[in-house]
Symmetry: D2
Subunit: 431 residues, 4 copies
Amino acid sequence: MTNFFGDLAPLTFDPEGEGPCFRHYDPDEIVLGKRMEDHLRFAVAYWHSFAFEGGDPFGGRTFDRPWFGEDMEAARRKADVAFEMFDLLNVPFFCFHDADIRPEGASFTESLRNFEEIIDIFERKMETSKTRLLWGTANLFSNRRFMAGAATNPDPDVFAWSAATVKACMDATHRLKGANYVLWGGREGYETLLNTDMGREREHAGRFLCMVVDYAKKIGFEGSILIEPKPQEPTKHQYDYDVATIYGFLKDFGLENEVKVNIEQGHAILAGHSFEHELALARELGVLGSIDMNRNDYQSGWDTDQFPNNVPETALAYYEVLRAGGFTTGGTNFDARLRRQSLDPEDLIIGHAGAMDICARGFKAAAKMLEDEALEAPRRERYAGWDKPEAQAMLSSDLASISERVIAEGIDPQPRSGRQEYLEDIVNRYV
Amino acid sequence: MTNFFGDLAPLTFDPEGEGPCFRHYDPDEIVLGKRMEDHLRFAVAYWHSFAFEGGDPFGGRTFDRPWFGEDMEAARRKADVAFEMFDLLNVPFFCFHDADIRPEGASFTESLRNFEEIIDIFERKMETSKTRLLWGTANLFSNRRFMAGAATNPDPDVFAWSAATVKACMDATHRLKGANYVLWGGREGYETLLNTDMGREREHAGRFLCMVVDYAKKIGFEGSILIEPKPQEPTKHQYDYDVATIYGFLKDFGLENEVKVNIEQGHAILAGHSFEHELALARELGVLGSIDMNRNDYQSGWDTDQFPNNVPETALAYYEVLRAGGFTTGGTNFDARLRRQSLDPEDLIIGHAGAMDICARGFKAAAKMLEDEALEAPRRERYAGWDKPEAQAMLSSDLASISERVIAEGIDPQPRSGRQEYLEDIVNRYV
Amino acid sequence: MTNFFGDLAPLTFDPEGEGPCFRHYDPDEIVLGKRMEDHLRFAVAYWHSFAFEGGDPFGGRTFDRPWFGEDMEAARRKADVAFEMFDLLNVPFFCFHDADIRPEGASFTESLRNFEEIIDIFERKMETSKTRLLWGTANLFSNRRFMAGAATNPDPDVFAWSAATVKACMDATHRLKGANYVLWGGREGYETLLNTDMGREREHAGRFLCMVVDYAKKIGFEGSILIEPKPQEPTKHQYDYDVATIYGFLKDFGLENEVKVNIEQGHAILAGHSFEHELALARELGVLGSIDMNRNDYQSGWDTDQFPNNVPETALAYYEVLRAGGFTTGGTNFDARLRRQSLDPEDLIIGHAGAMDICARGFKAAAKMLEDEALEAPRRERYAGWDKPEAQAMLSSDLASISERVIAEGIDPQPRSGRQEYLEDIVNRYV
Amino acid sequence: MTNFFGDLAPLTFDPEGEGPCFRHYDPDEIVLGKRMEDHLRFAVAYWHSFAFEGGDPFGGRTFDRPWFGEDMEAARRKADVAFEMFDLLNVPFFCFHDADIRPEGASFTESLRNFEEIIDIFERKMETSKTRLLWGTANLFSNRRFMAGAATNPDPDVFAWSAATVKACMDATHRLKGANYVLWGGREGYETLLNTDMGREREHAGRFLCMVVDYAKKIGFEGSILIEPKPQEPTKHQYDYDVATIYGFLKDFGLENEVKVNIEQGHAILAGHSFEHELALARELGVLGSIDMNRNDYQSGWDTDQFPNNVPETALAYYEVLRAGGFTTGGTNFDARLRRQSLDPEDLIIGHAGAMDICARGFKAAAKMLEDEALEAPRRERYAGWDKPEAQAMLSSDLASISERVIAEGIDPQPRSGRQEYLEDIVNRYV
């Protein structure tokens, strides 16, 4: 034991508790016929919790962690604390990038060796921990070699390096029985159109993704392949802008049945969408995979990655997930980091525990709304006209004959109330 | 003659002119082997110039036009002034919605009759005017019957009404030999997800568009069918969010070779993109059709539809158009309206003339940059590594063999300057 | 009785009610030693509820109200329905502009006569209704005469007209025993700097406000004079941008003790601030007057004026109000309008009732947090260092002697956790 | 000579030059009776040019500079390169923070010693260089001790440290004959209101500023004291939000005649204002001091600090500066940094040279517009009504008598065109 968290005991469900505990999240509570833990599938993000140093564009490291450092000793200490925290939080999952867990080596080979050594450690730890791997991913954006992109880099050697890195990360994810593999195109985009060959870069990105899908099949990886949309930051324009953009891209390369999306609240916001919009759209397009749960300050134009803290918002998000049938391989990854002034080990625990409670509250409200058909009954009623055979027939008709009918029958449609305030009020009865 | 513009003479090219004239736009100047008029294909928007009354969300009509009124007499007077203005401005094109040109009738049939009577008038006027029709379109958003959408309305009767309206507008566009037909989904979107069946609405929108394409073929309309993206306003979320979204939608319904996009600067901005981004993306996806040239205040989150006035910006926009080979059926429609305090007839003329000059300046700069390969030479050079056979081979390779090569060859990519400031400086030598 | 609301009975507090009722707002519940009605001081906004026709920039009237029309008959019918709704909702207050309640006349004198006739009617109705006037105000932005501003218009005649209008509205407010008089500078700002003399306009605005303050004193009006900040819309830049801007303006004209602010949630958002920021700042500057409670879509850059519906947000807002000691003359005006698709009379009732419940929930949470010192104890503790005499002494010291002390004592400050996640979690225990 | 820039010769004015040179900026050209160098007063920012390593929130250092390192040797090498670049660019000024130029020491005293040693070096270099100091400033935001603010920190020891640091920076600025001293409140603001005592922090900030002003007087520093507004980033809310906010703050502490503002384009944009708005407002309030010239991407919600590259925009900015009478102690500091992919020494030169040309083009256009009264004549004409004695008399009148006059004279103001498009067109004749 590292003793980083002192004598803190594992958190338990205790609705009236004063110290760190879960006041709303009871993993064993049955909701819609399933344990809440199995619905929500919470995951801790290795990068924010253990690799983030508290820096921002105007200042450097504020945190003071015993595992900071660029050597294997530090990486092993970090892994020890990580698994201790997973146990304290009783989370069923975690997620990582290669660069979160191992020091960068002097060459690809050395980095790979470092990486595999830590994967060995993870594997051993996971034998005795309940925590499994929700997803693994490759960091193809931090090192300066990726400054102009990974798969979309003007230099083919960077494409090669990226491919080799993804191979290694997929191998590791497969070995650790990860439920998904995620790609976030950190620098797949451009800073300025003036120096960018957008068509070529898009083609390379598509080809890269095809290889990823092929490789997953080849090694027998049965998890989902997920892409994470984000509209901008770090680049001026990210190619994986939002769900709709990714969908068009997947269609273009024939991958719409092979790849799904991992949707982050903050990225949805930055793209000008609500989180629930992105979830609903992905559901309708058949590509909803997993979520990165966090929150973005609505008024800061950058990625703030804060822990979720608004129940009405999480309720609407989980409502869309539930309408899609809930998670299969996906889950709720907290892509959220402490504010840089939150220096204490306890802050790490409280940040996560508070977020898990907020999610649990939202989730239970969503489940009840769905059970009661509180929104679904009025929705069905609103579109009831379309259930009539003549309405359906019209959809396979043509403009000329519809026009004739409008004229002949003197059709004159009358508006009906959309009842938005009523429906918002209904939601508020549940949250 | 209505005398609305007094004794103003038709505007001519006069680089040193003091009064209303073109200081930069010479329709007959040959650029890249073609007359500038034939490149730019300017169009006046009937709605902003003749139907807009100067209202905004906090106040009503400020303009005082002799043709305002909801009767056919007023509509005829409006048409007279419109064609007088086309002549004064010497524009080769105009664009219209049905609702811009005719008074609403008490029934579909009466509205249609009004509409066709004005189309007759247009047809006669076009016999003697040089001005042709760039595109026609249907207003499926102003009347309260469309408050919950047109093709995506929960009421099938509104779908029917919309289909009949589009038929009428396509018929008219075809009769007037319009070069394109445009669809802007003004209220195809939602105000709140709570009452919306997004999957159903998307399906209806797709089906509607298929009918439009079929009808165009049926009547022998050879112009382009165009969709105009906009992310929000009037709705919370518009389904035709941006170029990438529309592309995925077209692919889903097998329409990517049938339908193109009409891109508006202001709508691009509201979607979080630069205008040139949307143009470049449409070009790469093979769906660039036409442009709505205007400008949006970058800091107002609504559609300000101002006349363009920044040469460096128009230069970058036309540069992307030229890289696509220039307009074929498309053109430059001024989807721009006078500020509501610009009350005078002369303001209408000056707004357009100034915009035409700004476009001409930007266009000429863009053409010169392209001719000189000022941007294309460095761009090619930046991606030169990909022209090598081994790089191309890698694109049809697989992760495992690439990984082997990275390790075996000790590949270690070295960053090269992206030279953004240099390229921006180059552009500034041309504008 | 107009029967507009059918046989709807006055709403009552009924936590388990199914139909229109208050599930959380009990006017008689005692919180912090006072009835909730007397804390919250809810007001209905005449304009949104009775004058708004459902239009938006892309479409006109959607509502179909029996009182729409530009004659006195219609205005009287509107007043009848308004007071019926006040009674149904059991609201203690309402607010109005002159233009909401009377038809525009052909001259100033005729408009004034219309206005005063309706004020007579209001006065009679208020004899038997419990509903009082929270504030009156003048609409100096809708008519085209105000297109370039009211007090800041380039035409002195518009300044004169505006002054005469404000006089009339203050007279009416005084007669109806209004608790406050509000000024919102709808078009006090500019569309373009190119035609604007900002210094002159600011000077005129200041002089105008001085006259308003003087006139209030002269007629013995003892309510508060309030300015409502808004950053933009309808103008490109509004002079009353936000609380901080107004404060500087008031200081410049020596009015900081005469005038307070009426803060709207939506306007705060548009200025890039949280609502609670504006409230807290106004409190610290001693100018917090009243609130316009609504919500703005965070992602629409225009004023959406929706009914509040997020309890965690209203809790934080009322928390700042309570820290200021609660409302004195001010109150909670619902500057919120139905969505344009919410056509039914019932929507008007549900919109308000839902909002009153949301406010009550937030308010009670805020009161409990304050009572428990849940936030105030940690806040005090965080700044405890400043309570020491040597820290206070330093504030009246000088750079040189502080520098000496830093060097002599080897001062080396050590960061302490800001505990943001912990505090957010605390708030979530209350909402 | 460090040879960092190779054999690059000092840049000269050469309108037809191909390599690095000034195509528009001729320091000796006389505009409005003064050398252009003396108008524009260009300054290089030490931090962006020499301390920025190319990092962003998703990646670290991309630049590879021979002077990177945390020791005095590196700091001296950095100073050598800096002055070589000042000479190559022929800039009359530079600006710096303490932290840009010296390594952090283990204590305040050691940092101070490092700082003073570099100041000695600067002093010697400035004996032979033409480049003078536009302003010095203190970095009170990067080190973790400032994570919760400097003057507004909850810990009085941080206030003390900050005061001592500012003293040292003012001493150095005075010694180097700096024309101004600037304060940017990097972390003077808050991350969350929940843990913030806004009133107390504001009071401390005011008291701190008073000490700064007193100390400047005490040491005989005759330059201007400037505050730089910014609305957010790194904090959620910065106290020095914009010009209007700072003005109210200065008034509150009686400092409006002692302190001016240093306005940055990018910060203006982030606050929702145009750059020219902030400049015009500062002018009208009598607090315009100096400018940080850069540009912010309009669509990235963070501070992008790019080199200016749009002539129409710089023209409008300098126009407001010229209307204020031009710079006195202030100047044009390039608070702009290379994009992180611009790795080459030449990029540093080209970024600055391009920016200087853009500024020169804008400046010359602005000067000509002013000379021609192209905007001032129509502006005067628009407000001419206010020059009449009766209009002026009204400003010292009262509501009641104005109201009487409106009624008696039947005043009925008629709108006049604001001519925005005409004025925009006029500007475009100059740029």
